[in-house]
Symmetry: D2
Subunit: 141 residues, 4 copies
Amino acid sequence: MIEVARYRVIFGDCDPMRIVYYGNYFRLFEIGRAELFRRLGHPFATYIARGLYLGVIATTCRYHRPSRYDDDLVIYAAVTETRGARVTIGYEIRGPDGELRVAGSTTHAVIGEDGKPRRIPEEFRAALRGCGETPPLPPAS
Amino acid sequence: MIEVARYRVIFGDCDPMRIVYYGNYFRLFEIGRAELFRRLGHPFATYIARGLYLGVIATTCRYHRPSRYDDDLVIYAAVTETRGARVTIGYEIRGPDGELRVAGSTTHAVIGEDGKPRRIPEEFRAALRGCGETPPLPPAS
Amino acid sequence: MIEVARYRVIFGDCDPMRIVYYGNYFRLFEIGRAELFRRLGHPFATYIARGLYLGVIATTCRYHRPSRYDDDLVIYAAVTETRGARVTIGYEIRGPDGELRVAGSTTHAVIGEDGKPRRIPEEFRAALRGCGETPPLPPAS
Amino acid sequence: MIEVARYRVIFGDCDPMRIVYYGNYFRLFEIGRAELFRRLGHPFATYIARGLYLGVIATTCRYHRPSRYDDDLVIYAAVTETRGARVTIGYEIRGPDGELRVAGSTTHAVIGEDGKPRRIPEEFRAALRGCGETPPLPPAS
């Protein structure tokens, strides 16, 4: 996993337990994958301009320790698996001291404006391949 | 103002002060105007299907008393002004006992898929006219 | 699973794909478990008044079909497992025609104001036991 | 107004019009005031640790131009008025090219854990006084 972004917790992220609301970590995961692909040289915005989106098929999250107001969180992300038309991304959210707060994953398929699945564009597949976390993929045949 | 919807506060709406986060009332205002226009026989979904949206130009909110987890809020709404291509809607959010929690407004213009202003469709204008809170409008010339 | 609530999708729930944002279903899961326990005669608010919260340890979600603006969703929930101090709740979100949109789960522990684990209160445990979805539990010894 | 933070728009901020949802700018205003006071040497977290919160009494927002996915927004903020126990903060959200997107304000009172008003702590009042945007205040008598 590589560090891809930092995020400062606001009041609007927290709940009456005074910790980050469990559903709000999925916003941090989105920040994580956007910055991961920007670093790989493939910002999502260029795909969206072509009508291609990274739809979410599944997600998981484990909450290890709570995060609180004003915590300066560090977001880690990595491509953990590519199989056929699916890509799985893993995330860790850590406190500024490195303490693990939550760990999770999102599995995606490329879809078009109509919500129908599309092939992963070859240059995007190449970016995944170039990503150290994943084994080389056979060329799309 | 007429009662248009009820809303049960969840953890995800609240903040570390253990009250509804100030920015989340704008979701309740959206519920209010959607249900107001549904009652007037003009649900927004039929306009969206035609590529017309009710863009927001301005909003105000005054916070009178806090709302807390599990409060069963009542949403009131009314068209308070129509002027040219602009429509203003007023809202009150009250506790189950009628206590005023927040009062606010949103001012809108009809816009198309391209974000450009559109004339208010005549049948929508007629619905506004039929709304008891507003004085009759002259016919669009 | 039993139907516990309905939820009308608003603009604020959706994203630029014009479908409900993946992270916002966790709000619907929260509505589901709150209403499930209200029906069991154990609304969370009574526990919160005693300083007890249902902290989230883990969550999963599978996205089967997208939900769109103004969809009148139906929320189903059930206690699917209780093991020691942990409770798992399952959810299904369906369209008004019964079509499965997403299915997920949340696993919880009872925690106090200090975030530390607490024993599941006996009357709450009894409510879980009375819930048809779960096998009888041995009495807390 | 001074630049206090930048914010990259995510999918979770936007709505089916493919622009930032009107209610989500209030999260950006919160980021703005937190960073404004951090720069003034008075981060809110130190007051919260003492049980003091900056409750919101009123807010306004005018939407000049829409913001879109991946926009790298710039948040400007300033204390625009202090009157008795109330503080008003103004905000501008601009695109990376300086284009005004939204402008707004929030008016606050200091409140305690119980939600009751508190005097503005003298050192916080001094920070407001030191803020170039506000005229000198008479010493609290």
